[in-house]
Amino acid sequence: MIDTKQIRESVATICQKYGEEYWRNLDKKKEYPTDFVKEMTTSGFLNILIPQEYGGAGLGLKEACIVLEELSLQGAHAGACHAQMYVMGTLLRHGSDKQKKEYLPRISSGELRLQSFAVTEPNSGTDTTSIKTMAKKTNDGWIINGQKVWISRVEHSDLMILLARTKPQGALPKKTDGFSVFLVDIEQAKESGLKIVKIDSMINHHSCELFFDDVFIPDESIIGEEDKGFRAIMDGMNAERILIASECIGDGKYFIEKSVNYAKTRKIFNREIGMNQGIQFPIAECYSQIEAASLMVDKAATLFDEGKKCGAEANMAKMLAADASWKAGTTAMETFGGFGFSKEYDIERKFRETRLYQTAPVSRNLILSYIAEHVLNLPRSF
């Protein structure tokens, strides 16, 4: 058994070395935490899921969750680097031996960064099977045309996983057939005409629009079977959801700790505001909800690590944890009163950051729809 306490301690030490001011300044300047992510990679914590034969630690999702939870509860913005843990999953599960040997060890060592994945398009967000970006076969490769949106960290990644159509919509009987997954060398694609445009957004998430205009990528870029790429993308989603849920647990713990400390020290009407049950109760409620959500995250991660079905648990974990962290964020804003709005206290930054998980990578509504239709067998609505 690996000592998870030691993982926490080391991750906490790294975070404390940078401090919250680091994240505050990056947020202000909309810059990327390049040195922090580099240190998290070379110290092995972002390669935790890569098997040992490819230079990673080969540990389970439970341990990976601990890393992201600790990052978040230390005030770091885990969203800036979380994808480095799981995007490689598509390559690991569906790539050829040659691809895995070529890329995974270099991803482990930090020489190559694979932390960008391009699925969402301007006219097909939640409805993934309606994406339009097309990859056309040529003699020695593929020509990509189309547009993607909200593609995060693409400017800070060397490789990108791309989902594109390889058959026009409706050409195959199954709605989920006709898609393929590609491993794209971003520099090469840029040389061949890929345009990347930054999106100015609410949080420092480095998301971009991508414009593919006859962009050529070589033959060997395809991962897995042609036209069967949709599954390859989908089967990585459980890991992503569980990991993001653990980030939310960390955010929630962060908000609760900050709220408790502030409520104990801020004096108004000659007494600590924490003496008022109007301040105490919401914090106690958030604590209970984070603890409960954390049990679901654990359950989902355990099932995942045992190789068992965990779609429902992964979705529920993501929703419960995101709801609990969002509520804890709102409560922290409430507890801090006007000072919650001051950048100096970091609450508003974390509040904005944790809000994302109501929407991405999958929105709350879509989780409820999954539970309703796939767990409770209610009639399909779309």
């Binding site: 058994m1 000592d3 030691q6 301690e9 080391s10 630690a57």
Partner: protein, 252 residues
Amino acid sequence: MKILVPVKRVLDYNVKARVKADGSGIDLANVKMSMNPFDEIALEEAIRIKEKGNAEEIIAVSIGVQQNQETLRTALAMGADRAILVVATDDVHNDIEPLTVANILAAITLKEGPSLILCGKQAIDNDFNATAQMLSAKLKWSQATFASEIDVKDDIIRVTREVDGGLQTIDAKIPAVVSVDLRLNEPRYASLPNIMKAKRKPLEEINPADLGVEITQRLKVIETKEPDSREAGLILENIDQLVEKIQENVGG
């Protein structure tokens, strides 16, 4: 050369110490414990000496309760090669006294044969600052305390010491006991590969009796008190009042 590094498990330096209701000591139930920060610095230095090729093996030793295993696991993950746990008590509140610790470490030294013992200058819980000195006396080894710089050359260890009013550099003949100060280095954290490797490193568990040492108590804690809380400040109207106050307090 082998280096022995004793590491103590203490209340984490970030945790606010709370005195037990009966005044018998600090409450250590369910609080975060970590490696004594000065011992972390000693271990870091040992690892650096080994990385420079001046040592072959680093042995970490902890004396106390069973849970000190955790501290030793951290030492192994940082870079110690093996660990020895001396289970000397089953009550975390029972602080083993410096002389007993020195006796145990002396016995281990005879058994393991290190030529250098690197310790923290004091443990942040009891602040005794005594073990290293007692140990060197027991072993009749050279002693250098409060090291802020260390350089090993053959059988000489050059130590820069932080003393009142400046720095003193001395050469001590190895074998030696050196206690380290805060500014010696910045300890590393355990990388994930090293945490994984530490799982396979040996951790031996022994009792003081195995070493022929008896746990004795020479000191008795009479009382433990919280520091007086700071009194509220005064807001004065002008400089004259300030001068007046200063004269009053200094006793003019």
